[in-house]
C-alpha cells in the first residue's frame, strides 16, 4: 500500500478492528460506512481513493470500472439510508455521462480538429484536488505555534495609565465654532449671544438648591463678589425662574423670600 493511500484511510476502530483498508468485496458494516462517508471529503476524494487503491491510471481512467465501483459505494450508502450529499449523486451522473460518451462511436475526424477526451475535465479536477490535498497534509505537518512550539511571553508589569484624550480650551472653541457655522447654515437654530457668567451662576444656584429644601433668597448671593456678581446672580435667579427650574415664594408682603428647585427629582 502506498504512503498516500495510508493517509486516506481512517484511523478508526470498527468492532474493535482497525479500519485500515476497504474490504475488497466492498462489504462494509453500516456504521463503518457512515465513518467512511465522513472521512471522504467529497466525491473527488472518494474517486481518488478508488483510483489510487486500484492502481488505475489517472490519465487513462477505465471509466467502466471506476464508474461501477463508485456506484457500488453510492448504492451501499443509499441502502443504509445514509444522507448523501448531493455532490455524490452529481458525480455519479457525471461518471455515467462520460462513460456513455466514450461508448459512442467517434465521429470521423473533420480536418485537423481533435476530439477532446470526455475524461479530460474529470482528470484535471482530480489532479488539482489531489495536489491541494497533499498540500494540506504538508501544511498540517509544519510546526504550528501553540501546537508544536510555544511562544515566549514573559510578564511585563505596566503601570496601567488609561490614556484619556486631552482637551484644550481651543478644542472647545473649535467645537463651538463648528456649531455656530452650522447654526448659520440652518438659520432656524438660533445661537444667541449670552453672558456666560449668568449661565455659570445658574448652574451654581441649581447645585446649591439640590437638596430640594427652601433656601433663603439672600443666601443665594455671595456678598463678597461685589455688585457685578450680585447682579449676575440676580439675573441667574430670574432666568431660572423663567425656565421654571426654581420656585420663588413669599408668604407675606415684605416677608422672607424662599427659593427652591421646582419639584426637582433629585438623584
Amino acid at each position: 500500500m502506498s504512503q498516500a493511500e495510508l493517509q486516506l484511510i481512517p484511523r478508526a476502530l470498527i468492532h474493535g478492528e482497525p479500519l485500515l483498508e476497504m474490504p475488497s468485496d466492498l462489504y462494509i458494516p453500516p456504521d463503518a460506512l457512515e465513518l467512511v462517508l465522513e472521512t471522504f471529503q467529497g466525491p473527488l476524494d472518494l474517486l481518488l481513493y478508488l483510483i489510487r487503491k486500484h492502481n488505475l491510471d489517472v490519465l487513462d481512467i477505465p471509466m467502466a470500472q471506476l464508474t461501477q465501483q463508485y456506484m457500488t459505494y453510492i448504492e451501499l450508502m443509499q441502502r443504509n439510508r445514509l444522507e448523501l450529499a448531493a455532490e455524490y449523486l452529481l458525480m455519479a451522473a457525471v461518471l455515467i455521462e462520460i462513460k456513455s460518451r466514450m461508448l459512442l462511436p467517434r465521429p470521423p475526424k473533420a480536418g485537423e480538429e481533435e476530439v477532446e477526451d470526455p475524461r479530460a475535465e474529470l482528470m484535471r479536477r482530480l489532479l488539482e484536488y489531489e495536489q491541494m490535498k497533499l498540500a494540506a497534509q504538508r501544511l498540517n505537518e509544519l510546526p504550528q505555534a501553540g501546537r508544536d512550539f510555544e511562544l515566549v511571553q514573559v510578564l511585563i508589569e505596566r503601570t496601567v495609565v488609561e490614556r484619556l484624550p486631552n482637551v484644550s480650551v481651543d478644542d472647545l472653541r473649535v467645537a463651538w465654532l463648528t456649531l455656530l457655522t452650522r447654526a448659520r447654515v440652518n438659520a432656524h437654530h438660533k445661537v444667541r449671544r449670552e453672558e456666560l457668567s449668568v449661565r455659570e451662576q445658574m448652574t451654581r444656584l441649581l447645585r446649591q438648591l439640590r437638596h430640594g429644601e427652601f433656601e433663603l433668597f439672600e443666601n443665594l448671593f455671595d456678598q463678597a463678589g461685589g455688585v457685578p456678581q450680585l447682579v449676575v446672580t440676580f439675573i441667574a435667579v430670574l432666568e431660572l425662574a423663567k425656565e421654571t427650574l426654581i420656585e420663588i415664594t413669599q408668604t407675606e408682603t415684605l416677608g422672607n423670600i424662599y427659593v427652591r428647585t421646582s419639584r426637582l427629582t433629585l438623584e
Binding site: 503601570t159 490614556r163 472647545l172 467645537a175 455656530l180 447654515v185 437654530h189 455659570e200 426637582l264
Partner: protein, 206 residues
Amino acid sequence: MSEQADSPLSENQLTEVIAEDAPVVDVAQILKIFEAALMTSAEPLSFSELKKLSDAPLETRFVEELLQQLADKYADSGIELNRVASGWRFRARPEMQEYIGRLDPQKPARYSRAVMETLAIIAYRQPVTRGDIEEIRGVVVSTQVLKTLESRAWVESIGTRDSPGKPALYATTQQLLDDLNLRSLSELPALAEMENLLEPNHQETN
C-alpha cells in the same frame, strides 16, 4: 554574564543531591527545559509543576538550586527570574518599562466631534437637557456621548427640568475647569468674540 559559562554547579555536585538509584539527570537539558517552560508559561510555575518537567524525580532542594542557576544566568539581562507566592516566573525588569512602553500602539486619543460639541454646548449653555443639546446640534445625542463626559467627571446631572419626562439637566464640573486649567467658566473664550472669528457666509475668506 560569564557566570553561567564559568561557574555552573558541576553535574557531579548536582546529581549527588538526587536519590542514588534515580536516573541520572542531565542538568544542562533540565535547565533548558525549565527556561523554556518558565518563559512560555502565563502563570508562575510551582515546584511541583517544575518537577513534572523532568523524567527523573527531582528533590525540591535540587530544583531550587537549578532555579538559582537560571536566575544567575539572567542576572545581567533585560529580564529576571522571581519567586512569587505561587511559584517562579520571569518578568521584565521594571526599568525596561519605560522603553517597552513606547511600543504601545496607543495613539493620542481624541474625542469625537459629537463629544466635543456636546461638551461645548453644556459648557456655554448650562444647565441644559439632552433635548436642548439635540436642538442646537440638530442631531440626536447618544447616551454614549453623555456617558463619556460623565465618566470623565466633566459634566454631571444637577437635577431635572420640570417638564414632561423630567429631563436631566447637565452642567459642567470643577473637574473640567481644573483639567482646562481655568479658574472659572468666564475664562472660556467669549462667545461674542468667537462669533467674530467666523466669516459671514457670504463673504470671501481670501
